[in-house]
Every structure is written in structure tokens, then in C-alpha cells.
Amino acid sequence: MTGTIQAPVGQPVATRVNWWRDDASEAVWRTVALVGVLLALFIIGGVSRPDIFLDPSRFAGNEVIVLRQAASIGVVTVGMTFVMISGGIDLSVGALLALASVWSTTVATQSYGPGVMIFAALAVGTIAGLVNGILIAYGRLVPFIATLAMMVAARGLAQKISGKLTQIVKVDSIKQLAVRNVLGIPVLVFIFLGVATIAWILLNRTTFGRRTVAIGGNPEAARLAGINIRRHMLVVYALSGLCCGIAAVMVTSLANAGSSTHGDLYELQAIAAAIIGGTSLRGGKGTLVGSVLGVLIFIQISNLFVVNNLQLEYQLIAQGAIIVGAVLIQQFRVAALRRPAPPGA
């Protein structure tokens, strides 16, 4: 969504003034900054726990843990990024994940084998997302309200189905998913990267993605340009639900069980990661590269607290501070970009 298009070959390109304020370079700078933050976290790790961070094999082992943890939140964040770019919000992601994990691990579902379990998780997530979309697009509910209701209801339904019991996974191939490594990297991480890559293509290379950005940027203009906003919003929320279903399979595999407590606070972590990555709550702005880096930063911070044996409380406080810091930086950037432009030209 940030490609810079020059005039066609052989035609004059107007001289670019203040290119550093340009859209494209803005995204490049943000990426550089996020990578810088990640490196800074590694340096902090190197100072506080040199035995882990300066020993190549232990460092790699630690990062595999970080990545495996990031994978499921990352998939949810990908869906959240689409929703936020379209100008909405999805508070129900954690609850949908729990519902999908419970539904796919009932004794009945498990009896059909891994294929049906995975299908059930994806279908439950997608259908619940569609319900969100219908409420928002056709019921004209504010996304915040619709998904808040879904968050409560889906969690309740998950508890009802499971009887608040943990449903152990007995199907071996599902268990293997979290354990398996390919080239030393967990399969879950490949799933995350695959989802993120497909989403990147969807956002940056398809009409669907362009329309998502347009709807978030100026809904009225998008509507008057003939874009069917309602149908589009339906698909966006269904996509977010589908991501929850994928993440549900991953979490189920990691925990070796389906549970109505899975995905607790995922909505907050996903929103925070997207915001750290530069996605605007007001819609129309956001990148998947930023969101992926946002997730990695978020999880890496948790990891630093864990390896330094600090208590969870401090971790939460630090994460809160990071969210505020990211938004403040974003606002300064916007203020700089919005500095009165020279009128006309």
C-alpha cells in the first residue's frame, strides 16, 4: 500500500520536494524504527542475560520460544489489522479463538479426525466473524458494541459447550503441529508467516485491499465511488474470524487441549501490536509488516521479563507503557505530516 508510482517511462516526473515526508518513506522509516526497537530489546537482553543472548545456540533456542508464542497472536493481529484499517475494531477475537478451540476439540469432533477438527475451528471462527459483520454492516451497530457483545457471548458459549472443562486433544497430528520443527523453526511460525504473506498480498496487491484502505480513509468517498461498503465490511470481519479460527488450531495444539479460557486478552494484545506497528485506530492507515514487527516486539518484551525472572505485574506495566509510547510517537509523526502544506502549487 505504499508503493511509489512514478510517471510512466519516457514521461516527465515532477521533481519531488521533501520526499522524506512522503507516504512511502514514512512506512520505510517506521519499519526501520520498529526493527531498531527489536534490536534494542536484544541489546537489553544481552546486557541483562548475556548467558542467553550472547550464546548463539541458547539465543536461537530462546527466540524459537518467542516465535512460537508470537505465532498465534500474530495470526489474530493480521485479522485485526484489516479490521482496523477499514476503520473498525474487533474485540471478540480472544473469545472467538476460545469458542473455535472448544468446538473443534469436543469428543464428537475429535472422533472425525484432524481434518474435521481444523475445518470446525476455521468454520466456527469465520461464521462468528460473519455474524459480527452482519451486525455491523446491516444492523448498523458500532463495531465496538457489536464485537463487545460477541466477545461476551462467544466466551459464554465456549464455557457452555465445554462445561468449563479442559478438552484434551487425543488426535496425534494436531498435537504434533506445535512440536514439529522444519529447518529448526516451528511449523506454527511458518503458518504465521504464511498467513501474514497472504494477507500482505491481499492488502497491497488486490482490489479488496485497496478498497479496505479507501473505506477506512473516507467511507463517504468510497461509497460514492460505487464501492459496496456493507458487503466489504462483512468480508473484513469474516476474515478476522477466520484468523481467529486458524489461531485456535495453533493454540489448541500448543496447549494440547481446547479450553474456554484460551485467547484471554488476545484482543488487547492484537490491538496493541497493530498500534505499535503503526495502524491507526481511525482507519485508512496500517501495514502488515508493521503489525508483524509489533507482535514480535510485544512478545520479545514479555520474554525479557521472563528470562530475567521478573514478575508478571511488571511485564503488564511495561506493555502498557509501550502502547502509550507507540501512540504518542505516531501522533507526533502525524502532527509533523499535517503541518500546513503549501497551498496549491
Binding site: 510517471a7 514521461q11 482490489t207 460505487g226
Partner: protein, 537 residues
């Protein structure tokens, strides 16, 4: 001139990275005069206003207030110095009452509590001073008409003891009879020795209300101290442009009227317009003249499907359009350039090319995958056809002037938003005239105030584009507050008043006075709803 100017600017320079927006502006404003500022879009008017309002600090030059040099470090400093600015987008809070808006941020208080009675009393007194005691001070501003909101903005300026009122195109949002009222208020102000800096593109207004004129061109004062009433219009225009141009309408070509492209029958939306029937033939420009509030914009939006009608139907090229469905209308070959460019049409932070291909991206896509290169090339071609300046399709639309933004909106419909195009409607075998515009023009184009906030030069260009589209068999339905524009551009004119079409005739058989007479014979009041007893409690 012997009087000491209230404000004098000498050699003011303001540069932005890459642009020298002001390059030596001289301006002196006397107390109690209406000083008009003229200049094309991009001449530096907006920047100059921001400098005077304290929003920009000049890089060089001096600003003197009552003969002593001052600097306005921020907008508050300018307000304290007695300079109030009324921007085109009136910055009022819709949910607060008239009185609360007038005293926003400076409410009469006692121990932290707002003295509501005192505030209302003072607000009433100020509105009295402006000759508008009929505006109820307890009414939420959102319920007022645009004209009344403007009066409230002026009242707010008065409440801060302004000595100079800067008004940026105040008449652009007003209908003809409301402008007369605006002028009454301005005369009221000047009689109290308050100066007004009046910015407008309408030369006839300047002649009517102005005392002296300063002309800006390319960031430089190109003429100053011109008497507003006696300077010939031709001279003013030539100072702005360096060449002598006026509103230039392209010549009407006598071509046979095509088939009916748009057929509207008995369209009704209660409270907005009633039982409207009209036709637009392909290759014909139909103009609707009417005041703001006559229901013309609502009519256009309903035809387009952005509003759902209560009764009536719309047919495009013979096929009925489903009511309230913009996407279906666009696919069928209908296009609209809406009244509010920025909020209704443009993605301001996106580059020009993405704005141009917003509706047409699927035409260049394969299997849902966009082809950015093809889109940008197509956008570039259309942008260069319409002479968008600067011709850089990767530039953010926010950075373009009003006229160029409007060209971007038009360009959107010339790269093929709908699948049905005027070219296809032309009889098969005979290719549509391969005019230079786009190549994928719509069947019918709806234009709502296409030249609002557009300077004289860019206007002529837009008129030319519209005429060329008609020559390519596009049917055009045009709404404008400016009667000369409707008469100069349209083949056939419809007059709309209070939600009804009351007159129809060929443009050639009408003159400005006749149309104005038809348009205005129903009188409109400033307040949209009659005030209730409770308001005066």
C-alpha cells in the same frame, strides 16, 4: 491616504520546503474599510490569511499594527491584537447553542460557573448589532442554516473585540439572496469602524461590497490600492492572470440530440424535493438552477443512489436503477462529482493516481489482483488530458489546489468506473469520437457545484472538459449556484425552487435576470425551522 492603516504588511515572505508561497506581499488595511483580496488559487491567499491569523510566521518582511511592528507568535496573539478569521469551514460546535458558540472559551464566569443568563444577554446584544436578533441564542448551532452559522461566526469575532475580520470566501457557501444579507452585516461592521478583509472569487461581489482591492499573483502583490467600484473587471482579471481572460465558456456545438440517457420520473423525498421528473439526453448538458436548500443536491444524490427515494424511479439508458444503490448506479454508467470534494470524494492522504482509479481499479485488475503500473499510467494519461497541475500522480491529493482536486474527481469517472460507458452507448460500428478525454466516460455525469472554490483560470478549463464530455455523447446534469455558469454551459435549463422543478427551457432563450427572478421569487428565511416559544424563555 492619510489615515494610519490598522494593519500594514511590507515585503512579507513565507517559504515552505520547495515552494515560495509568499514572495514579497504588501498590504495595508484601513480601519472601517472592506478590503478585497484577489488572486487565483495558489497565488498565496490562503498562506497570507494564515500569516495574518498567526498560524504561520513569515520568514521575512514586517507586520505593523497601528504603525508599530508586531509579530504574531500564535493564533491567540493575532486574536488578542483584534484580528479574527472566519474560515470557509465555519469552526462552530454543532451541539452547542448559539450563545455558547459565540462565547466559546471566554464564557462570562463567576467562581468557575458559567453565567448563562449574562451570556445569553450579551449574545443577543451582539446579534442585534449585526442586525440578526431573530437568531435564537438558545438554539443548537447544528440546527441553523449555513448563512445563520456564518452570522454566528461573525458574532463570535465581535465578542472578542475584533478590529479586523478576515473572511475567506464567505459567499461560496451562500445562495444569492443570502449574499445580500451577508453584505448588510458587513456594512454594519464597517460602520462601526471594523475593517474587513474580504476574499472572493466573484468579481461582481467585490464591486458591490469592496472599497479597495489588492491583487496577489504568484505570491507577490501585483496590484494594490485599486478602487473596487471603478476598476474595470477586465483589469482586475488581467492583474491576477497576466492575461486578459474572463469566464470563458466553450462554444456550444450544434449536434443532434441523442437518445434519452437519464430518465427520472416522479422522484420524491419528503421534505427535500417533490415529484421531480426530468430527462437528460446523451450529449446534452442540462443545468439545474436553484438556491442552496432548494433540494437540488439532495435530488442529485438520490438519482445517484446515495439516498433512497420515497417515490419515483430512475432509468439509465432505458434500464431502471435499483433505488438507493450507488454501486449498481456506477456499474450501470452513472457518475457523480459531489458537492463537498474533500469529505465526499477524495482520499486526501492518498496519491492522485489512487484517487483517480478508486472506482475503476477492477478494470485494470486481473482476478482481483491490482495492476498498479497500468492504473498509474491510465491516471497519468487522464490527469494530463485534464491538465492537473502539478502533473505528478504520486503526489498526495491534499497538496493540490481546489481546481486541481476537482479535476482529479472528474478524472475518476473518465478512466472507466462503470462498465457501461458513453462510448458503448453510441451506435455500434461508429466508434465514439476519439476525443482526448479519458476514453471511458460514463453514460451520465452528475455535477454538483463543479467550480466551487475554483479560480477563474481553472474554471474555464473545467468548462472545456465538461463540454468535451458532452461532445463525446456523455449526458451531463449540472447543479450550480451561479446562474451565469448554468446559462453559459447548459443546453437546457431547469429551475428548482423549494423542492420542485418550476421551469424548463433552452438555455439560449433565458437570461440571467429571468432565471434569478424564477429562482428567488420564493423567499427563504435564515432559520430553517420556525423558532418555538421555548427558545425565548
Amino acid at each position: 491616504m492619510t489615515a494610519v492603516p490598522f494593519l500594514r504588511l511590507a515585503g512579507v515572505v513565507k517559504t515552505f520546503p520547495g515552494v515560495r508561497a509568499l514572495d514579497g506581499v504588501d498590504l495595508d488595511i484601513l480601519p472601517g474599510e472592506v478590503h478585497c483580496l484577489l488572486g487565483q488559487n495558489g497565488a498565496g491567499k490562503s498562506t497570507l490569511i494564515r500569516v495574518l491569523a498567526g498560524a504561520h510566521q513569515p520568514d521575512a518582511g514586517t507586520i505593523e499594527l497601528h504603525g508599530s511592528a508586531v509579530t504574531f507568535a500564535n493564533p491567540q496573539a493575532a486574536i488578542r491584537a483584534g484580528i479574527a478569521t472566519i474560515y470557509q469551514e465555519l469552526d462552530l460546535v454543532d451541539d452547542l447553542t448559539v450563545a455558547e458558540n459565540i462565547f466559546l472559551g471566554k464564557e462570562p464566569r463567576v467562581a468557575g460557573f458559567v453565567r448563562r443568563g449574562v451570556m445569553r444577554g450579551r449574545a443577543t446584544a451582539i446579534l442585534d448589532r449585526l442586525g440578526h436578533s431573530e437568531i435564537p441564542v438558545g438554539r443548537p448551532v447544528g440546527k441553523l442554516s449555513t448563512a445563520a452559522k456564518q452570522v454566528v461566526s461573525m458574532a463570535r469575532a465581535l465578542s472578542s473585540e475584533a478590529q479586523l475580520l478576515i473572511m475567506d470566501e464567505p459567499s461560496a457557501v451562500l445562495a444569492h439572496d443570502e449574499v445580500a444579507n451577508l453584505f448588510r452585516v458587513i456594512r454594519e461592521l464597517t460602520s462601526q469602524n471594523i475593517a474587513v478583509l474580504y476574499i472572493s472569487h466573484r468579481l461582481e461581489e467585490i464591486r458591490e461590497i469592496g472599497d479597495r482591492v489588492t491583487v496577489l499573483k504568484d505570491g507577490v502583490t501585483s496590484a494594490a490600492d485599486l478602487p473596487a467600484r471603478t476598476t474595470p473587471q477586465r483589469e482586475l482579471v488581467s492583474k491576477m492572470t497576466g492575461r486578459t481572460i474572463e469566464y470563458v465558456f466553450p462554444p456550444r456545438v450544434d449536434h443532434p440530440v441523442g437518445a434519452v440517457a437519464l430518465d427520472v420520473e416522479g422522484l420524491t423525498r419528503y421534505g427535500e424535493f417533490h415529484d421531480v421528473s426530468l430527462t437528460v439526453h446523451s450529449g446534452e448538458i442540462v443545468g439545474i438552477a436553484g438556491l442552496v436548500g432548494s433540494g437540488r443536491s439532495e435530488l442529485l444524490e438520490t438519482i445517484y443512489g446515495a439516498r433512497t427515494p420515497h417515490a419515483g424511479r430512475v432509468r439509465l439508458a432505458g434500464r431502471p436503477l435499483p433505488p438507493g444503490r450507488v454501486d449498481a448506479a456506477v456499474r450501470a454508467g452513472l457518475a457523480m462529482a459531489p458537492e463537498e470534494r474533500k469529505s465526499q470524494a477524495l482520499l486526501l492522504d492518498e496519491p492522485v493516481w489512487r484517487n483517480i482509479t478508486l472506482a475503476a481499479m477492477s478494470r485494470y485488475a486481473a482476478g482481483g489482483f491490482t495492476n498498479a503500473g497500468a492504473e498509474a499510467r491510465a491516471a497519468y494519461r487522464v490527469a494530463s488530458d485534464l491538465s492537473v497541475r502539478p502533473l505528478d500522480v504520486s503526489r498526495k491529493v491534499r497538496l493540490l489546489s481546489g481546481g486541481n482536486q476537482q479535476k482529479v474527481v472528474l478524472a475518476r469517472w473518465l478512466v472507466g468506473g462503470g462498465s457501461q460507458t458513453a462510448a458503448r452507448m453510441a451506435s455500434p460500428g461508429t466508434a465514439a469520437p476519439s476525443g482526448p478525454v479519458g476514453g471511458h466516460a460514463p453514460v451520465v455525469l452528475l455535477l454538483d457545484e463543479p467550480t466551487r472554490g475554483v479560480d477563474v483560470g481553472a474554471r474555464s478549463e473545467l468548462y472545456g472538459v465538461i463540454r468535451r464530455l458532452a461532445d463525446q455523447r456523455v449526458g451531463v446534469l449540472l447543479v450550480s449556484s451561479e446562474v451565469p455558469e448554468v446559462l453559459g454551459l447548459a443546453d437546457r435549463v431547469l429551475v428548482m425552487r423549494e423542492g420542485r422543478l418550476i421551469h424548463e427551457s433552452p438555455a439560449a432563450s433565458l437570461d440571467e435576470d429571468t432565471v434569478l427572478d424564477l429562482v428567488m421569487s420564493g423567499s427563504l428565511t435564515l432559520i430553517e425551522e420556525p423558532s418555538t416559544v421555548e427558545e425565548h424563555a
